[in-house]
């Protein structure tokens, strides 16, 4: 079963249009959505939550059309955790207990302890990292099958980011679980994703298995003349300076005599975005 099926959604805003976009996330996998600010990542994620209404297209989560009830099985952390400012954790938990069908108080308590969150301070005193951690604790404490995270690591220190990636890794040990995470800190996603999708100016540039991308593409540094001698189809993006040239190339279309070094997902995205 697919955890997420987006078919041809499109949405037009003033000055920006998204799609048509189709995306599939198989169960048991983690998909990283990468794009620059304003690429449409948040718009896409909000469409998944029914927070905006696409002009066309269809979305299915966990095999079903969107509904409020489905959110019992999705854990969501958006870049802003909008909990009431003057509440403390026990009060917040009470609200969640009455809202989610499968709320697990013991699991929540464990996460609060693990994240070192203070039970007797009001939410407004929490730092950004603490707010995100609380949002994550809530998302993980009601037997969710699908985690949807929008820029959860922005503004967090490397230790916390690593903790989050660990949690996502563990979450997907269960093959019925899946994660969609969007970020513009590509290095984080590269560590943990099975699939990578590039979103640029509202269009999906690609959606592929991460490891296949890393196998297919490489980075070549050579002279400008050598570069010109290659098949144009082999070059996915290039930069020529007075000292030489570097290019993102398709390994299969470049003779093996060239020294091609591995490429990072970040480089892949930057070169493709510039070219496209």
């Amino acid at each position: 079963m697919n955890a997420i099926e987006i078919s041809n959604i499109a949405k037009k805003y003033k000055g920006f249009s998204l799609g048509p976009l189709s995306l599939t996330l198989p169960a048991g996998c983690i998909l990283g959505l990468i794009g620059e600010n304003g690429a449409g990542k948040t718009t896409t994620i909000k469409a998944l939550l029914g927070m905006n209404h696409p002009d066309s297209g269809e979305i299915r989560l966990l095999g079903q059309p969107l509904s409020a009830d489905l959110r019992n099985e999705t854990g969501v952390v958006l870049d802003e955790v909008g909990l009431p400012e003057n509440l403390r954790i026990p009060q917040i938990e009470k609200i969640m207990k009455y809202s989610f069908r499968n709320w697990k108080s013991d699991v929540f308590a464990e996460y609060i302890k693990k994240f070192n969150l203070p039970e007797n301070k009001r939410f407004r005193t929490f730092s950004k990292g603490m707010k995100m951690k609380l949002g994550l604790a809530i998302a993980l404490s009601h037997d969710a099958k699908l985690l949807i995270l929008d820029e959860p690591t922005a503004g967090l220190d490397p230790l916390v980011r690593e903790e989050l990636l660990d949690i996502l890794n563990e979450f997907t040990r269960d093959e019925g679980h899946a994660v969609l995470i969007s970020s513009h800190i590509v290095s984080d996603l590269e560590k943990v994703c099975d699939y990578i999708a590039f979103l640029h100016k509202g269009q999906l540039m690609l959606c592929e298995e991460k490891d296949r991308l890393l196998e297919q593409y490489g980075f070549l540094q050579t002279t400008a003349e050598n570069l010109d001698a290659l098949e144009p189809a082999a070059i996915r993006g290039k930069r020529v300076t007075q000292y030489g040239a570097e290019a993102l190339v398709d390994r299969k279309l470049v003779p093996q005599t060239f020294d091609i070094r591995p490429v990072t997902i970040e480089e892949l995205f930057v070169y493709m975005a510039k070219e496209g």
Binding site: G28, C29, N169, E170, T172, R173, E175, K191, V192, C193, D194, Y195, E209, K210, D211, L214, E215, G218, T257, I260, R261, P262
Partner: protein, 122 residues
């Protein structure tokens, strides 16, 4: 079972898993009918993609190095020496083709190649 995956080496990850498990099986470090870790737990423990791990396992199964028992898991297949020999011959042939190609690119003859081989042996 020791597996070392190098993210930076540029060698495809599925290939690294495939080759290392195959080597362990051929060398005897993994014996017949030994259980292999499940695809998912191996992927999560090594922090690599499940899809990629599955690819490696599928390849190993296709080549007869492991077999799957539904609901139980994957196990090392009994060694088939004939299959292994064939495997190795195939690989040698591929390498030779490559060597011939490279040699042609820099104008070496068959004799030059054999000379190089002798030099390596000394």
């Amino acid at each position: 079972m020791n597996l070392f995956i190098d993210n930076k080496s540029g060698a495809p990850i599925y290939d690294q898993i495939y080759s290392q498990i195959k080597a362990l099986i051929i060398s005897g470090a993994l014996s017949e009918n030994d259980p292999l870790p499940s695809i998912r737990s191996l992927a999560k423990d090594l922090r690599i993609s499940v899809v990629t791990t599955k690819r490696a396992y599928d390849e190993l199964e296709r080549e007869g190095f492991l077999y799957t028992v539904p609901a139980k898991g994957c196990f090392v297949a009994p060694k088939n020496t004939e299959l292994l020999r064939e495997e190795h011959l195939k690989q040698i042939e591929n390498h030779l083709l490559e060597i011939r190609q490279l040699a042609a690119a820099c104008g070496m003859s068959k004799q030059d190649i054999i000379q190089m081989l002798d030099l390596l042996d000394t």
